[in-house]
Symmetry: C2
Subunit: 203 residues, 2 copies
């Protein structure tokens, strides 16, 4: 690289930095966010757990409620229950996927119990982030009413608490109410090639 | 819900379960995956860290190389360095974003050093997952050649090692070579509303 190229690069980056600094200077607000990860692609729950990991690293008390997954011995569950039981409450309250249980009344009761637990956790102002993992599946099957959940969050979530809701098919009312929404598309998935769910990747 | 509704639900779920069981029965393969999280939306790095957390929960040795982020005191870094230094090597080798450094030669040297470290980690068959965080940014700026990286992975990655590559603008050759690709779109982002990056959520 010539000295001229290097100088041109430095000037261009200097302009980008100035523009970015101006943009970021306007971003001074802090608030507890409603965060939604939805769409058919892989990465919704794992991104939620990545944020939980960040909270733990900062010493911020946090909590996880799993609405659908429940019985499985996952890596995230082992890590949280073994190492951080005081900093991160973990409640696996799903009975498994609905096609496993084949019991709609039981599924509804499990979703309602999970939501009751979630409400307690969200009301606690000492808890800084609550991950409601796969709650969108409970909305999708009609086990929970999104309007009731959104109404509760608007009325009772402490202003600085982050609530993360995951699962495909997020209801439109939830997307409307949220502060941050990511939609994850599948470009490629190895299930299509006969590869099974593997530890570390899917659970 | 009437007994008839309950029976209809059970039958429908039973059919879904049978179809799903047939589908999953064909998925018996296991392999180390090339996983790419790309796109402009939030959740690429956090999803990578969620998978690292799963590995740690299962006791699978793993490693992280950060290509762009580097100097910042993040939650993920604190957690990994404080609690799991033996199970998960953490190398923050980026010098910061390129518009911060304004030094193309320095950025190229940092990217090359990070890739040299990544090659050592990937070659080690005891390490089960390697997260190459924000490596796509290094491709995008021309600091690393995607063909050289893909060639190395094809030739030298142990068959059971998972490698996760994150960052927006993944090069097309990488998408072609990968087993699992998720593309994350922004539906809403609170930066647009003047909210700054917050601990637990972005770092």
């Amino acid at each position: 690289m010539s000295a001229e190229d290097q100088a041109r690069h430095a000037q261009k980056m200097s302009q980008i930095k100035a523009a970015r600094d101006r943009m970021m200077a306007g971003k001074t607000g802090e608030k507890g966010l409603l965060i939604v990860h939805t769409g058919p692609g892989k990465g919704k729950s794992s991104s939620g757990f990545g944020m939980i990991m960040r909270c733990i690293g900062h010493g911020m008390p946090c909590a996880v409620v799993q609405f659908i997954k429940g019985s499985r011995d996952t890596g995230e569950r082992r890590l949280l229950e073994t190492h951080f039981p005081d900093l991160c409450q973990f409640h696996a309250m799903g009975e498994g996927f609905t096609w496993e249980t084949q019991d709609k009344r039981g599924d509804i009761a499990a979703a309602e119990a999970a939501w009751a637990r979630a409400q307690e956790l969200i009301r606690d102002p000492g808890i800084r982030m609550v991950l409601l993992d796969e709650i969108n599946i409970a909305f999708r099957y009609g086990y929970l009413d999104p309007k009731a959940v959104i109404g509760f969050l608007a009325a009772e979530k402490p202003p600085m608490t982050h609530v993360v809701l995951t699962g495909r098919n997020a209801p439109s009312e939830l997307i409307e109410a949220a502060d941050l929404v990511s939609e994850i598309a599948v470009v490629k998935h190895p299930f299509r090639d006969g590869i099974k769910a593997q530890p570390g990747v899917e659970f």
